[in-house]
Subunit: 740 residues, 2 copies
């Protein structure tokens, strides 16, 4: 074993090719590039790191032998180097062929990538969905060729050679950023920076939660790590601070994040915009922090850091790994030019020369191939071992096993929907946020995977599960998650929970207007097929005095415009139950429930079945599918439409009232059904909704009228605002008379 | 002067009424409430604070005499107490009358509020817009009664007694959260948490920038502080970390933030979700941190902290002020119940008893009134003094004075629009992101207030002003701002810049899809009338290989649905110039410019004037306003519409091509103009846009066709995606034939 040799091939290469920017790196300081070195900056973080190693943190001694356990699995450093360079060149070659992509990160992070996938992580390449696998998230998703190269070497079916050569092409399994729905083996969808680290917090939360619920003194049936690589860009995004603050608070000891500290972002050196001391910040957030000074070739340093991280069980660990972006490229390493463009034929050749790589593009040397080939049988063995363990567990703990199985398979317990509450017009009027809580509490009893919470508004969003306590560091078996005022992190954490296991059903809540804070995470829910339930209360001017900053206007439209997300706005108890039924059933499509702060009556004619169709008639005194006028409402305004219909009917009109609770679901119905609700011959249509009229034109047609609010709200008691804005029975009646 | 007396009235009151949670507070530890004390937590931050006072920071000795300078302006502590209690009761009474609002923060923060407005800040109540005033931002906007009470006492016309008694009522000047557009004296619009602190960073940036540009050795013509109060909620939001990281990076020494450390948020004690060490995080972010342990009655501590903060000129300062939320309420202080609800008549009475307050609701005692009355003459004197100074400055530096004047008044230099570049169909094809840069660079020469930058995508967004360097700590006179990968902070910082001075025109940039990260700040731009220019490139699937995470689909619709914001999607050079003309002219309405990554031809018929109308005909071979079909396109798809028209005309059709660059502007045109572009008799209409068809129904009508993309994008070369998604000339021709 030559692993602790102090002068490796790659270090020799580095000394003649790349730029050590830190005096502490064990490489020559001669340089062929004239980039600023920012030594002042680094000496700061260096001294911070030294301070950190003082008495304030309990630091385990790092010994060369600390890495022995994992090193047993590896072979000599020369082959490690070769494997690492294989990863580098697969990345270089794929980006070059596509003439598009980001070679810099894979070239710099190949060492940590190799160690993770070849030495550390437990997974089964032939079953990427094996429940107890270690999870890996590339938060710096633009470096996806790193992950594709690793999946390829490890033997995942999704990434064969032809997938590497079709990188970023139409229909390939290797899109421009990692997408879990395209590439089995990729856990989450990243690219938008900061999302991945927050997803990883969700994955680690799910592990800690399930372990606490299902592990037994004699059987750790849930037991895996979550690894992340994130870069400077992720670090700058606020979402990562939100999620990492929670990870520290929750003490997610099995979350290990590698911070690729390469000091380059798209606009150049991070010096221009990012001079904070990340170490101090993370220590403030309650993380254990380790600095690997030589991430380019310091394999043993990386291994030791991972071992140290695993030994710290009550805190997540940030391993700051100082790397050179584009390592190995003689003229582009350590510059922004290697971040997001192909190297170009000439520089690819120069890099081949520089790293001593004589192979054709996309070639995996035989010894490297052979070395990695063990992961297929080893992975199968890992899963088989776990399956045997589970069989044993099932015998001893049949009830827990059944529950856990429903979480790992996503199969909903038979008859779960019978738990949904039902209402009659005589049931008391109530706010849909309260009705939502009745549903959540009813469902939590029958759905073992339901868990969630609010961004510090539990008592306003009405999201507490009364039979459970708080998910906290020392009570991780509980199901009420306290996210604090961190909407964006909350959404992305829920994506991670949803993608951890098909039977986990996360919900999260805030005021509807604050979806603006978490929209990027919600879009990824929709894209990555995470069936998160977004419980969004205070859904209109009906919230009253808090005023326009808190009153959503354009939000219903903005989600109706988003692909693969269900926007649901129930009007009462039955519709709230219907919305939950739809949301629970849609495990690959997130649902947004817009709920009222104010009390609403239980309306005659509403139903769960109606909600499932998206739009349906709740009352009608016409015949032959030919009403004089159709009044269409959603949520709190359905009551207004119904009252207006009562008045109009007194005047002899044939009036249909339609609840349009989910446009997306209605769109999916047959033409025949749609015609039965909104007959094309009836152009006299009036819609009413306390939000923008944008989009309603298509529903009411050019002869109809859309009543809504096309301005910002106002601060006043809710009733007053409704009246001043003309969201009234009188306005509907007047509009109906105008159009018919 | 009894200010340094160690036992004040309020301390005596505190000892019998409220709960000291920290052993270090100089109050009795007896308690009538059984709330958890979390002493473990506090001892941690306490020791952190002690560490902080060690050799790592240059700390000025705090002496009682340090406060003397400001104390000269005040009177004895008893009157200060009375003033502070006046603030508390005005807040209590207003919330009580409205039966809605947040009394807890004003009750806890009244001491710092009093010291700021009565002793420290320089302002002129009768001219809230005096340029050189100190700025104050209540980032914890729900506590707005604090600010209204202070503005009332200080003599601002916007907040008279009748405004206090109509708190949160329709049409009042005292809405439920601070709104600059409703209440002169309020600088920005807050409520959505974290926005205010980021706005404040923008205000402080503007001051530092203008001071660097216009101050002379003999005249500091720009010279003010920016003060903020933020709470735990603001601290948890990612946006505040983004903005504060930049504030530290930029060394904004005149930014002084008070962190109301009251340990209570809506869901209860912050212990449940917020246990990070804020001090360490802020030190990591490059801030100077001070801890005031007794924010309830420690007036001298607060004064000393402000003096210390002012002495630290190269770093922003965070003053962590430990307070008791709802201070003075015997049964509700230090609990979430006092955060967001009226106290209730009984508890109001008990609080009156407890704080020894014999007055009627809304009463300001005569001595307090008299004490505050000096601010009107003093403010007038401050402004007069500055005006005299400016007159002097104008004589010596006429050029700089003229520029500064245009910034302070917002009057655009005559003929500025002549700088806009023009194009002919023969001008080379180019991406609108490049054309945008030509406009930015042309405008920077004639608009002294134009400054901005990108969220680490300057070279992709094409936003660099070539004649200027980077705004940095030591080069604050420059105009290229490097925001790092912090979209949300960027947007809110630009709001602060825009609201600092009417002539400052901030722009900021990222990929269009990442507006999702900053939407909350953009909505506030729209609401608070901040004319920020959002330069959003890579505006469709046209960006190609980066794939669906990077391809906007629903974003055009989502901004068209938002009130008071202009969504502009120019098609070529002339339209890009038009978009900038509109954006610059709209100083009270933000503009979003959606710009292409890919090259586009310069189309015949496009014009600046056309853009100003929002929608206009670029070519037409029909007569009598009766084309056979109208083809409507925006941005990069206008070219497709034009090409389809060419083909259709060859087949003998009368075809009109309409550029629909801004729906909002078109909506504002006369009915006659609209009819001249989209005659109601012509129902054969086809729209094409590489985004969702949501919303287009109203434009094309039930007989028309909208070509668009109602799914997520894909990773492939752009041309391939356009073809696969049917965004093609052929598709337009086919649709046109179907409809006419």
């Amino acid at each position: 074993m030559a692993s602790s040799s102090s002068l490796t091939l790659s270090q020799a290469i580095l000394s003649r090719s790349s730029i050590p920017r830190h005096a502490s790196a064990s490489t020559s300081s001669s340089s062929s590039l004239s980039l600023p070195s920012f030594s002042g900056l680094k000496s700061t973080s260096s001294s911070a790191a030294i301070r950190r190693r003082g008495p304030t943190t309990t630091r385990l001694p790092i010994r060369a032998s600390a890495a022995v356990e994992t090193l047993d699995k590896t072979t000599e450093t020369e082959l490690v180097e070769k494997s690492v360079n294989t990863i580098r060149f697969l990345s270089i070659d794929a980006v070059e062929k596509a003439n598009s992509g980001h070679p810099g990160l894979p070239m710099g992070c190949a060492p940590m990538g190799h160690i993770l996938y070849d030495e550390v992580m437990r997974y089964n390449p032939k079953n990427p969905y094996w429940f107890n696998r270690d999870r890996f998230v590339l938060s710096a998703g633009h470096g996806c060729m790193l992950q594709y190269a690793l999946l390829h070497l490890a033997g995942y079916d999704a990434v064969k050679e032809e997938d590497l050569t079709s990188f970023r092409q139409w229909g390939s399994k290797t899109p421009g950023h990692p997408e879990n729905f395209e590439t089995p083996g990729v856990e989450v969808t990243t690219g938008p920076l900061g999302q991945g680290i927050a997803n990883a917090v969700g994955l680690a939360l799910a592990e800690k939660h399930l372990a606490a619920r299902y592990n037994k003194p004699d059987s750790e049936i849930v037991d895996h790590y979550t690894y992340v690589i994130l870069g400077d860009g992720c670090q700058m995004e606020g979402i990562s601070n939100e999620a990492c603050s929670l990870a520290g608070h929750w003490g997610l000891g099995k979350l290990i994040a590698f911070y690729d500290d390469n000091h380059i972002s798209i606009d150049g050196d991070t010096e221009i915009a990012f001079t904070e001391t990340v170490d101090s910040r993370f220590e403030g957030l309650g993380w254990h922090v380790i600095w690997v000074k030589n991430g380019n070739t310091g394999y043993d340093e990386i291994r030791a850091a991972i071992n140290e991280a695993k030994a710290v069980k009550d805190k997540p660990t940030l391993i700051k790994v100082t790397t050179t972006i584009g390592f190995g490229s003689p003229n582009k390493a350590n510059s922004y030019s290697v971040h997001g463009s192909a190297l170009g034929a000439k520089e690819v050749e120069a890099t081949r020369q520089n790293l001593g790589w004589p192979y054709e593009p996309f070639h995996v040397p035989e010894d490297v191939k052979k070395h990695w080939s063990r992961h297929v049988p080893e992975g199968a063995a890992l899963e088989a071992e776990w399956n045997a363990k589970f069989a044993e567990y099932e015998k001893k703990y049949p009830e827990e096993a059944a529950e856990l199985k429903s979480i790992t398979t996503g199969e909903l317990p038979a008859g779960w929907e019978k738990a949904l509450p039902t209402y009659t017009p005589e049931s008391p009027a109530d706010a849909t946020r309260n009705l939502s809580q009745q549903n959540l509490n009813a469902l939590a009893k029958v759905l073992p995977g339901l868990l969630g919470g609010s961004a510090d508004l539990a008592s306003s969003n009405m999201t507490l599960l009364k039979m459970f306590g708080d998910f906290q560091k020392n009570t991780p078996e509980e199901r009420n998650v306290r996210f604090g005022v961190r909407e964006h992190g909350m959404g992305a954490i829920c994506n991670g929970i949803a993608l951890h296991s098909p039977g986990l059903i996360p919900y999260c809540a805030t005021f509807f207007v604050f979806t603006d804070y978490m929209r990027a995470a919600m879009r990824i829910s929709a894209l990555c097929e995470a069936g998160v339930i977004y419980v969004m209360t205070h859904d209109s001017i009906g919230l009253g005095e808090d005023g326009p900053t808190h009153q959503p206007i354009e939000h219903l439209a903005s989600f109706r415009a988003m692909p693969n997300i269900l926007m649901l706005r129930p009007a009462d108890g039955n519709e709230s139950a219907g919305a939950y039924k739809v949301a629970v059933l849609n495990r690959k499509r997130p649902s947004v429930l817009a709920l009222s702060r104010q009390k609403l009556p239980q309306l005659p004619g509403t139903s769960i079945e109606g909600v499932e169709k998206g739009g349906y008639t709740i009352s009608d005194n016409s015949s032959g599918n030919k009403p004089d006028v159709i009044l269409i409402g959603t949520g709190s305004e359905l009551e207004i439409a119904a009252k207006a219909a009562d008045e109009l009917r007194k005047e002899g009109k044939a009036v249909r009232v339609v609840s349009f609770v989910s446009w997306e679901l209605f769109d999916e119905q047959s033409d025949e059904y749609k015609e039965s609700v909104l007959p094309s011959a009836v152009t006299a249509r009036v819609s009413i909704e306390a939000g923008t009229t944008f989009g309603w034109g298509k529903i009411v047609g050019s002869k109809g009228k859309a009543i809504g609010i096309d301005r910002f709200g106002a601060s006043a008691p809710a009733g007053k605002i409704y009246k001043e804005f003309g969201i009234t029975v009188e306005a509907v009646i007047a509009a109906a008379k105008e159009v018919c």
